[in-house]
């Protein structure tokens, strides 16, 4: 990582790029639900293209990656589940309780649809993979999914408060066995269990 990366003031960048991602999240949502006439859509498209052109003036190749701040914090702003700068991420805020419980509460909108008016089963899997994996993550020591099993009890609604949670069932050497669930106000919609592995050498 080049030296200047280490000197970047991430709090300042957060206040620049966080609102940008927020605006694009709203744009994604309304673009799916819009019933505007073709001329309005074409005008909006032109504005979006100009904004993308301007942002492309200075562009990092590849992806955002995972960057380390001077104080040793990992910044994963490009992450598709929690990334501050990733408009695809809801983004989830992950809470770690002292007893090891990991949880997140959120609402998923039109962008996450599978069956009509319901969350895509694969999005439930995406979120549960991340939340179960978070039970095994340690600062500077990520864990990777080994296996993940999902049991769908019923469909998960769009536009309503949801909660995902997970805890460690047991650990065996580099393996963490985690269990968890996704649910709404009426109870569990999807159950999950997974094995997460700490590589011997950090992989980044």
């Amino acid at each position: 990582m080049p030296d200047h990366e280490l000197c970047v003031d991430h709090s300042r960048l957060e206040s620049v790029y966080g609102p940008l991602a927020g605006s694009i999240r709203r744009l994604i949502d309304v673009s799916i639900r819009s019933e505007a006439d073709p001329a309005t859509v074409a005008a909006a498209k032109s504005q979006i293209d100009r904004a993308a052109d301007e942002l492309s003036g200075a562009l990092r190749p590849g992806s955002f990656g995972v960057r380390r701040t001077p104080d040793g914090q990992n910044i994963a702003w490009g992450n598709v589940v929690v990334g501050l700068r990733n408009p695809v991420a809801p983004p989830l805020v992950i809470h770690h309780e002292p007893d090891g419980l990991v949880w997140s509460e959120f609402v998923l909108g039109a962008a996450y649809e599978g069956p009509a008016e319901h969350v895509h089963g694969g999005v439930c899997a995406l979120i549960l993979d991340h939340v179960l994996g978070a039970t095994a993550h340690r600062p500077g020591r990520p864990a990777y999914t080994g296996t993940l099993t999902l049991r769908y009890r019923r469909r998960t609604p769009l536009g309503r408060p949801l909660r995902a949670q997970a805890h460690v069932e047991r650990t065996e050497g580099a393996k963490t066995f985690a269990v968890g669930s996704l649910g709404d106000e009426h109870g569990v919609t999807v159950e999950a269990e997974g094995i997460f592995i700490h590589p011997k050498q950090p992989l980044e």
Copy 2:
């Protein structure tokens, strides 16, 4: 569904909304990778907000849903994996071979990141859920995920050609047992098996 929905010319709408979603996909990608200065980012954000305001002039509540055309085709343009109008969707084009094999080839960019420079394990799950599920789908008769198990062999790269494929192993009444995998040019990265269920009554 109101009558006017049935009269909508979907090919015409496709040529209006398809390019809009394409532009927003590019915007998502460059917004994550941009290193533009704060003033440029603020100007881009204003344009994006204006575009979102214009598209919001006529807005369907909720989500896109699944709409049926006059000729009985289902339109799932809001779908997070294959939706023409969903900028979060890559979107995947799903191919059905006469022998029942279902496959899709695609490249995933910065918006799908988990570990640095690699696809989030949960995005692999999202795609495999959809592709395995597609082996069970019949026109007007969707199948829902019952269980899904994923085995991660190695990490899946961003920015490289990927292929997902699946086939039916067997069926038992309303249940379809499907298996499949995701991989790159070096072979399989994630294996999956799932049970997909046809509800007795259509759920939409």
